[in-house]
């Protein structure tokens, strides 16, 4: 289906931005190609690997499958926007645990972890597994991701 370009105004990382694109453009590609926010990654394009995770009104969403036309005035936060005054506690926990290997999936992992901790300040192992099972890490950093989430929850960092 050929969709003509349209103008959209988005609220991204507390800033109003305007872009022109086809309305079915996934937020992921608008962020990366048009807004230069490349911290959000492409991994699968079908919302099952979690690399593209961002927040929409504080909830973790897969930006690869979220069309621009569905966002309206909802607040979008990307990895570039989580540490407003320096590093976010979850980012600090990631550093303390030395989590990343290649690092490519970690933006998405961190965004999922922050969304989890905002809803559940003291997640159990099962809660962590449930919240994080949508995020694939091919390097296999899962053990440290789990530890970092627990550290962040108990304010060790």
């Amino acid at each position: 289906m050929i969709l003509p370009m349209e103008k959209f105004t988005l609220n991204i990382n507390d800033q109003k931005v305007s872009i022109e694109c086809a309305p079915d453009t996934p937020l992921l590609w608008a962020l990366r190609d048009q807004l230069g926010l490349t911290g959000t990654k492409y991994g699968c394009g079908i919302a099952i690997c979690g690399s593209c995770t961002v927040h929409m009104d504080g909830t973790a969403v897969r930006s690869c499958s979220l069309p621009i036309s569905a966002i309206n005035d909802k607040a979008i936060t990307t990895i570039e926007g989580v540490g407003k005054d320096g590093l976010h506690p979850v980012q600090k926990a990631w550093i303390a645990e030395n989590v990343p290997q290649c690092g490519f999936c970690q933006s998405g992992q961190i965004m999922s972890a922050i969304a989890l901790l905002e809803q559940n300040g003291n997640p159990s192992d099962a809660d962590i597994e449930q919240a994080m099972s949508g995020n694939i890490c091919r390097c296999g950093t899962y053990i440290r991701i789990r530890s970092a989430i627990k550290n962040a929850a108990t304010n060790k960092v």
Partner: protein, 754 residues
């Protein structure tokens, strides 16, 4: 070991490599007063701002005191971009906070850059120590000259040369003076005693850590340059096959589409450099390109592999290994000993094709310039090979091609192959504009260089004294070389040295055999390569042998490894390949092998009693010159759900250069092994791969991967060996053996289906 046309000459630091540059812009007239010529003690830390001391290609010291260290190997998650620079920093007594790491472009002047085969640390540990120590000596000589004292009165301490009297000069201050000195010869160099290491064997976090967690790290997919357009390619489901016709009207009608055109596919076997080709779609942005690709209609043609069916192929290989194959290693008479055996343990083992599926799919930015040169930014494991391949494809000289290596969003061997970069370069030339080529996940999974599927048969004879007296191992798999040559009919001798011909057991009658199997799809090396298949089979059969002998599996392993000896494989196997290094330099030492086995036994509480549904399994395997023993604990519930609460690895990789990153490789290696053991499988029907994304090509998620992994080091001062690949091969059979203990079910086929 792996086919690679790039210059694989072993790097050696020779005097010739130490090209001295000295102080840039120093004319002798502009005797810039060193910034350090003030009374303030701190001021003696720095020198002329434009001073550059670059005694070799890896190390540069600026007058400001900044030390620039070249990372010439590719960073795909192993930490190598940190680990090798810290080896240099340690020997030169640099302050790590004043070190800036610079990623090398692809250039032969850096020596081997093919980041593959777990040999970065092994190959470069010693030369880079020498490089660092040379710099330190020159800085000491410069300080001694400045002070008019004997060099024995000087020592290097944290970015300064300190005199016995307490006075000191900073590296920045000394840079220009050191640059004026002759390069010392290697025999003047003294390396540090290991007790004095500041970084080696200590914990150093990766250089890019903060950039990664803040989303600032730049991978190949993130490269932005002016006027960039995005390309995707619609490919024939059968790799190497062509097309009859295509219609691009619907695609070109989409706003933002620049061009839709045909890139001629390269027929199978196309090798590793050739573009797969197909219908190229170029657009202003990624989404437009993807949508337009969906709108292209193509009538594909069939190629020579149109009838390839991986299931039928596996059955054929399985049948073939029931009979004697080409004998590649023989000792005594296995046939005779098997006849005389009181017990014979035998089993087939099957492993499917597997895909690399790195988190970052293959991608590359190429800019073909008007003057005929080409610049590339890409996540590649072998930038020199890419440089050659791009030059050849464009018909230009290598000197006209620049390969900038970005961070790699993992790779596992996929990004060794230059094909996707060559495609990007060709499209940029065609379009006369900079191009970012994206392989979507579907492209990646459907058009990988797949892991060799493999069928094996192992037969072990036990005599009346409960002694293992015969070993027959047959393996059939398509060779990696089959991707490049129709002449490759089956496993090569080099490939068989990954887990078949290097069998370490002290058994009197041995026959190691291979059977032909012809590649009918692109085959490539995947992390651990053929050790995946062979480690799985050997680790599993050995557990069955222990059961048959009514022995503890670890005692059985120690018995099979036999006496302490360095196994002379060169006497046992014609053309034995010890991971491309001399066996005498890196022997297969059964004493070291047994040490890791004993260590894992001790650390894992091996033999502890476990409730129903739980099991512990053991396996050990030497690959890429590193010894690894593994114990896996497993829980299997009534619905056959498998959980892995604990994994123990005991390893001997020589001096552990960056222990935290070694642990990370083992944690990740276990998770990677969990993917292969529990989840992943590529099937091919009618020449086309049936899986196309992570919804059907399954990989381990947090719920599947081990919950804890402990890594125990054998402490020694042996030469360091690699750790990227060695974790995977023993993990898989250890898991299978644990499942056997928990459920009584023997696993002989991957992925595990209970």
């Amino acid at each position: 070991m792996k086919p690679n046309p790039s210059n694989n000459k072993l790097f050696k630091v020779s005097r010739r490599d130490f090209v001295k540059i000295g102080a840039l812009g120093s004319t002798g007239l502009i005797l810039g007063i060193p910034l350090g010529c003030k009374q303030d003690k701190n001021a003696f830390l720095t020198g002329r701002e434009d001073a550059v001391f670059a005694p070799n290609v890896y190390i540069t010291i600026l007058g400001t005191g900044e030390v620039q260290l070249i990372a010439h190997r590719s960073e795909m998650g192993t930490g190598i971009r940190t680990s090798l620079p810290l080896v240099m920093a340690d020997e030169m007594e640099a302050d790590w906070t004043k070190v800036k790491i610079i990623q090398a472009i692809g250039d032969v002047k850096y020596g081997d850059q093919n980041t593959d085969g777990s040999y970065s640390v092994r190959m470069f540990y010693q030369p880079l120590r020498v490089a660092g120590a040379t710099v330190k000596l020159m800085l000491m000589q410069a300080a001694a000259q400045e002070w008019q004292v004997d060099i024995s009165e000087c020592k290097a301490v944290n970015h300064e040369i300190v005199h016995n009297s307490g006075k000191s000069l900073g590296y920045g201050y000394l840079a220009e003076k050191a640059g004026a000195l002759p390069i010392p010869s290697e025999n003047e160099i003294t390396l540090k005693d290991s007790r004095d290491f500041k970084f080696i064997s200590k914990e150093t976090v990766i250089y890019d850590l903060e950039d990664i967690v803040t989303g600032k790290a730049v991978y190949g997919l993130d490269v932005q340059i002016p006027d960039l357009k995005v390309a995707v390619i619609k490919r024939n489901p059968e790799a190497g096959a062509g097309m009859k016709s295509f219609n691009s009207d619907m695609a070109t009608a989409i706003e933002g589409v620049s061009k839709v055109y045909k890139m001629e596919p390269t027929a199978f076997p196309m090798g590793y450099n050739a573009p797969l080709g197909g219908i190229v779609v170029v657009a202003n942005n990624t989404w437009t390109a993807i949508k337009a690709r969906n709108a292209v209609e193509v009538v594909w043609d069939k190629g020579i592999n149109a009838s390839y069916d991986s299931n039928a192929f596996m059955q054929q290989m399985q049948r073939s290994v029931q009979k004697e194959g080409q004998i590649k290693r023989q000792l005594g008479s296995a046939t005779k000993a098997l006849k005389e055996a009181t017990k014979v343990i035998e089993s087939d083992f099957l492993v499917p094709h597997l895909a690399h599926s790195p988190m970052e799919t293959p991608c590359a930015v190429a800019r073909h310039n008007a003057d005929g040169t080409c610049e590339i930014w890409a996540p590649v494991q072998s930038p020199q090979w890419v440089r050659q391949a791009v030059a050849a494809a464009l018909g230009i000289e290598e000197s006209q091609v620049t390969i900038n290596v970005t961070l790699l969003g993992s790779a596992f061997g996929r990004k060794s192959k230059p094909d996707f970069v060559v495609e990007a370069a060709l499209i940029s030339k065609e379009m006369n504009t900079p191009i970012k080529l994206l392989w979507t996940r579907e492209d990646d999974i459907q058009h990988d260089f797949y892991h060799s599927n493999c069928a094996q048969h192992i037969k072990v004879g036990i005599d009346k004294n409960n002694k293992v007296t015969s070993w027959v191992h047959r393996t059939a798999f398509p060779s990696i070389s089959g991707t490049a040559s129709a002449e490759a009919k089956g496993p090569s001798s080099d490939e068989l040295c990954m887990g078949v011909l290097d069998m370490p057991f002290e058994i009197e009658n041995v026959s190691c055999e291979s059977l032909d199997a012809i590649a009918q799809i692109r085959i490539g090396w995947l992390r651990s390569v053929h050790n995946i298949n062979h480690g799985f089979a050997i680790g599993s059969i050995v557990d069955q042998v222990a059961q048959a002998r009514e022995m503890d599996p670890i005692d059985n392993m120690l018995d099979l490894l036999g006496s302490d000896r360095k196994i002379d494989f060169t006497a046992l196997v014609e053309g034995f390949n010890n991971y491309n290094v001399k066996l005498e330099d890196y022997p297969c030492d059964t004493h070291r092998f047994k040490q890791v086995v004993q260590l894992v036994k001790e650390k894992s509480e091996w033999g502890k009693s476990l409730p129903k549904g739980k099991g512990m399994g053991f396996a050990a395997h030497r690959s890429f010159l590193t010894y690894v023993a593994c114990v896996v604990e497993v829980e299997v519930d009534d619905n056959n759900n498998i959980k892995i609460p604990m994994v123990h690895f005991a390893i001997d990789c020589g001096v552990p250069v960056n222990p935290d990153r070694i642990r990370a490789q083992f944690e990740g290696g276990a998770a990677f092994g969990a993917s292969l053991a529990l989840k992943s499988e590529i099937n091919v029907k009618n020449g086309a791969v049936t899986e196309d994304n992570f919804n059907n090509y399954l990989v381990a998620r947090m719920t599947d991967a081990p919950i804890n992994t402990a890594v125990h080091f054998v402490e020694n001062e042996e030469k360091p060996t690699g750790v990227g690949e060695p974790p995977v091969p023993p993990f898989i059979p250890a898991l299978c053996n644990a499942i056997f203990m928990a459920t009584g079910k023997r696993i002989t086929r991957l992925p595990i289906r209970l």
